[in-house]
């Protein structure tokens, strides 16, 4: 407990640190630089994330370059801010326009948009912000409490355990993916296959590079993510004729009344608990949080028929789960060095650019960065509460901009953003290629999300697989003989079998249809 407080104190000390900044005309002015960065991150994250069809992954990939200028701690705090901003921007779009920015805000459209149509958009956005804030506070403490013990756990993990853990993560992703399980498996295989492009990690031999030197370092994750989630999304949106249903009703007051708060109090707490637990799981468990919370609230409600017609619990619970999951999904990354989803993979990219190797050693070697980032999560949540609510009018106006003016801006931002990461024109050509591939995959009912996760984990998986087999002298049985590894694989198998059972499959489909 004392440790926890000391660590949090270190974190908040880092975030609130005041440094003299050279301001033109004024000379050095002491500013809490990290707070400023967190604020700017939240603001631009929301600004981009609120655009329909731009989810957190594309937002972070686009905005990654703007963090290059700052020191590692500042850059990661800003990126975390961008992430929360993008998340909240997605919820705003879900409530006001009925377009979910990403999978986790799908549920919010159900009751959130109905509330908006009844002239209660302000209350819906307000309760979403308050729920997110509560969830954020709890999740910050959870991360701080679990960080140290899980890091110790990581030290007993060998290559076999790492490999099995990632297999379990990917099985999770398959189970959680919408639509056909076979297609999700194929996408994960394709993702891992793409990750093997480039020089072999042991022999240095070129693999599948077409003899091109720019491919020998492999495919850049930001390029793949921006193609699949930025460009492909533009192409998909261009197919639909513009029918954006921006709420015409008044936004109404923002602060929920006493009745609203009483109704949403328990759902917020339950959503937070569900989201926080699911977020820790590797394989993007955070996606499941809002669905689980919505289903639970509907079951517990005295009058379930209210759900879908603007029940405030249907916004409060899932939004809290969403935010709690978004934060606790940092845990696998910060403690084990395994990114559980695409957003965290971008964080890995950002850390690598700043010379930090994610994993258990971050906490000991860069204690200030580690705890600073955790403290910044809480600060980021406060920021969201402060900036988003007053700026709702601005977001509404932004959402009324027709798509034909919006997508060229997104396009330019993608091009400039990706060029400034590596200064390679071939990267720009590749976002076009991956955009076209992603679009084709979407048209053929494949989901790009598992592909990206496979790509994220692919390199680590191959590395650990090869290492584990060298240690065991080629015996595959090492994966089932080591107890932790065997346990993880067992969970994976059970999950897969359960997901394939006909009855579960049907209810799984129902959850996603809902």
């Amino acid at each position: 407990m004392g440790d926890l407080l000391a660590n949090l104190a270190l974190g908040f000390g880092t975030v609130l640190q005041v440094v003299p900044v050279e301001v033109p005309g004024l000379g050095p002015v002491p500013l809490p630089m990290n707070v400023v960065l967190c604020f700017v991150g939240c603001l631009v994250g929301t600004l981009i994330g609120v655009l329909p069809g731009v989810g957190p992954v594309a937002t972070i990939a686009m905005l990654l370059p703007i963090t290059f200028k700052f020191d590692p701690t500042g850059a990661l705090i800003m990126l975390a801010g961008i992430y929360y901003g993008a998340q909240y921007g997605g919820s705003t779009t879900a409530i006001l326009v009925n377009i979910p920015g990403e999978a986790t805000s799908v549920v919010t459209t159900l009751d959130g948009h109905q509330m908006a149509r009844q002239g209660r958009a302000g209350v819906a956005l307000g309760i979403a912000a308050i729920g997110s804030f509560v969830a954020g506070c709890v999740a910050t403490v959870v991360i701080a409490a679990l960080g140290a013990p899980l890091t110790r756990l990581a030290l007993v993990f060998g290559p076999a355990e790492y490999f099995s853990l990632m297999v379990m993560g990917l099985v999770f992703a398959v189970v959680l993916a919408r639509g056909s399980i076979l297609k999700a498996v194929a996408m994960i295989l394709l993702g891992i296959l793409l990750s093997t492009v480039g020089a072999d990690l042991e022999t240095g031999q070129e693999r599948m590079t077409f003899g091109q030197s720019f491919l020998s370092d492999g495919i850049d994750f930001a390029v793949l993510a921006m193609g699949l989630f930025g460009i492909a999304e533009i192409l998909r949106n261009l197919d639909h004729t513009e029918a954006r249903d921006v709420v015409r009703q008044a936004i109404g007051r923002l602060l929920p009344g006493r009745d609203d708060l009483r109704q949403s109090g328990l759902p917020i707490l339950r959503g937070t608990a569900i989201g926080a637990v699911l977020g820790i799981l590797p394989g993007n468990g955070a996606v499941l949080g809002p669905f689980a919370s919505y289903t639970l609230e509907k079951r517990l409600a005295r009058d379930p028929s209210r759900f879908g017609t603007g029940a405030i619990e249907g916004v409060a619970g899932p939004e809290s789960a969403n935010n709690a999951g978004a934060q606790t999904s940092f845990i696998p990354l910060l403690t084990l060095g395994i990114p559980p989803n695409a957003v965290m993979a971008l964080m890995v990219g950002a850390m690598t650019i700043h010379g930090i190797v994610p994993g258990p050693q971050v906490m000991t070697k860069n204690a200030g960065l580690f705890w600073g980032m955790i403290a910044s999560m809480w600060v980021g949540n406060v920021m969201l509460l402060i900036i988003n609510l007053p700026l709702i009018g601005l977001w509404v106006r932004l959402l009324k901009v027709p798509y034909r003016l919006m997508f060229p801006a997104i396009l330019l931002l993608c091009c400039v953003g990706i060029y400034s990461i590596n200064a390679m024109p071939t990267d720009i050509l590749f976002i076009g290629l991956f955009g076209a591939v992603g679009y084709a995959l979407i048209r053929l009912d494949f989901e790009p999300a598992p592909l990206l996760l496979g790509f994220v984990l692919g390199k680590l998986m191959e590395e650990n697989l090869r290492r584990a087999l060298i240690i065991s002298r080629g015996e595959m049985s090492t994966f089932v003989e080591r107890p932790i590894s065997a346990g993880l694989l067992l969970v994976a198998v059970v999950l897969l079998v359960v997901a394939l059972l006909p009855t579960i499959r049907r209810s799984r489909d129902e959850v996603f249809v809902e």
Partner: protein, 218 residues
């Protein structure tokens, strides 16, 4: 791409979308197997560079075959008609940006490096036509405005290593000017032209939205 209006296709292929998806996977798997043909497989004890990619490709190909099989047996979704306009124009715009942002050797010739000053408006003007509602003047206003914002944001504020304008253009300024000064003046000029274009042309109701579109980039 064949267009079918009925939801369930007739003929031997009962789920065309599944078959097409399966064939795509088989194709990708075949490509990967072809590309890794010279890499050594190694043994489990000491894996060669070829083993993991090859196993993945085989797995991918098998899933593709199963999908094809499913599509032949079980009724599924038809292939939908879609317009090629969006993908073609967007890809063209992206390629334009890639080839003009800095000199790019392409076969025997080298493309001119126009910097953001040239590549930005070109990309937006071309890309804007991906939507059937795209209009030249509107795209131009948007392109110039967005480029001005991008210059100030990425060049002036963040100092990212993006070529801003061609050298011939930079030489137009008197020698004493700093890079930032040139940048700010250029951005100002671009924004000025954008506003002028906006004011000169016939007034449409959308004209005001064009302004909102610009300020968004900042």
């Amino acid at each position: 791409m064949p267009a079918r209006s009925d939801t369930h296709a007739r003929g031997p292929i009962r789920g065309p979308r599944s078959v097409a998806g399966g064939l795509l996977l088989v194709g990708l798997a075949a490509l990967a197997l072809y590309l890794t043909r010279d890499l050594s497989q190694g043994t489990l004890r000491s894996m060669g560079p070829g083993m993991v990619p090859r196993m993945l490709a085989i797995g991918l190909g098998l899933s593709g075959l199963v999908l094809v099989g499913v599509g032949l047996v079980r009724a599924g979704h038809p292939l939908e008609r879609f317009s090629l306009r969006g993908p073609v124009v967007i890809l063209l715009a992206i390629a334009t940006f890639a080839l003009t942002i800095r000199p790019f050797p392409l076969g025997g010739i080298t493309t001119p490096g126009l910097g953001l000053l040239g590549a930005g408006p070109l990309t937006v003007v071309i890309g804007g036509f991906a939507s059937p509602e795209g209009r030249l003047r509107e795209n131009l206003v948007l392109g110039l405005g967005l480029t001005a914002c991008a210059m100030l944001l990425f060049g002036d504020l963040l100092n990212l290593p993006i070529p801003m304008f061609p050298e011939a253009y930079a030489a137009l300024f008197p020698d004493g000017w700093s890079q930032d000064g040139r940048l700010r003046v250029t951005a100002g000029l671009l924004a000025g032209v954008a506003v002028a274009l906006l004011l000169v042309g016939p007034r449409r109701s959308e004209a005001r939205i064009g302004v909102a579109g610009q300020s968004r980039g900042a």
